[in-house]
């Protein structure tokens, strides 16, 4: 360890020059509190889904609506986007050329957008089968849970575009670095929520 350890989540950025160690830690910790409150919301939506799973009132069931292949492809896209975002934060930390950083951020954005397109396609297919949120308790809780995750991914993609704008406008100063690190935490946490979604929703729906 050649540099002082910063006690915050995410990649240790080391000395950012303009911010003191305490400021950097507080800036990340506040965002970390928001992420944990978000995790509580998702956990309760999972609990609701778990109690609603059998409430199909004769309508579409998990087994009839969930397909393994699209869920698998979407999982690979999100996992890969998390890895490319990690690579982008390393490019930021070690001041690699701007085009390398933009390359990895662009790859992340592309993967996120393809994920959203596939999910929208899944939802459209379900609507075509008559599986819309008002049909049953099962479908209401499904669209609340998976829809909220999709909304988060859409917001994260928009935020990524804003970050590219900030890097162009301000350069990589301490504030921009902290913002990009926060977005990284958000992106990785969405990946973790998706792990729970594919296990509890898509895989459980295809068992037996």
């Amino acid at each position: 360890m050649s540099e002082p350890e910063l006690a915050h989540a995410g990649l240790n950025l080391g000395d950012t020059g303009e911010l003191t160690k305490d400021q950097a830690e507080n800036a990340i910790f506040g965002f970390w509190i928001f992420l944990m409150s978000d995790a509580v919301i998702f956990a309760l939506l999972f609990a609701t889904y778990g109690t609603m799973i059998a409430s199909t009132v004769g309508g579409p069931t998990p087994a009839s609506e969930f397909k393994l292949l699209p869920a698998f492809v979407e999982t690979l896209l999100l996992l890969t986007s998390s890895a490319t975002f990690g690579r982008a934060t390393i490019a930021m930390k070690y001041d690699e050329p701007r085009r390398v950083l933009f390359g990895w951020l662009g790859a992340t954005l592309g993967l996120g957008l393809v994920f959203l397109a596939l999910e929208a396609n899944d939802f459209a297919t379900m609507f075509a089968h008559g599986a819309y949120p008002m049909r049953s308790g099962f479908l209401s809780s499904f669209f609340a849970l998976v829809g909220l995750h999709g909304l988060h991914v859409a917001v994260a993609c928009f935020w990524l575009v804003v970050m590219v704008g900030q890097i162009c406008a301000y350069g990589l100063d301490a504030r921009v670095r902290i913002n990009l690190l926060r977005l990284g935490l958000f992106w990785h946490l969405l990946d973790i929520v998706w792990i729970a979604i594919f296990s509890v929703v898509y895989l459980q729906g295809n068992i037996g």
């Binding site: 609990a47 890895a83 792990i195 296990s199 895989l203 295809n206």
Partner: protein, 100 residues
């Protein structure tokens, strides 16, 4: 080994482990070889392991620096989640049984 190499390797290890765990979970469901209950239990266990891997490799949360506030916040959030989720499940399943 430089910091950069070490950090690159952490992300690579996290990504590789995630891919293996994901593939294992989907393969268990795609080619079922034992009972539904056991498969679901294994899928949930694989998911939990993968979450731990991502917290460790992508979010850089470790148990070593025990004074870290973020680790305490995670543990406290986990307690809150466990209380709220288990409470929700108990009450709603009980309610459903009574309405059957």
């Amino acid at each position: 080994m430089s910091d950069r190499t070490r950090e690159l390797r952490t992300y690579a290890v996290g990504y590789a482990l995630s891919l293996v765990l994901t593939a294992a979970a989907f393969a268990m469901v795609r080619w079922p070889s034992f009972g539904a209950r056991a498969i679901f239990g294994t899928v949930l266990a694989l998911g939990l392991v993968q979450m731990a891997v991502q917290f460790r490799c992508f979010l850089h949360i470790s148990l070593k620096r025990s004074s870290r506030h973020d680790l305490q916040l995670i543990l406290f959030s986990t307690l809150i989640i466990a209380l709220m989720v288990s409470g929700t499940l108990v009450i709603l399943f009980n309610l459903r049984d009574r309405m059957m």
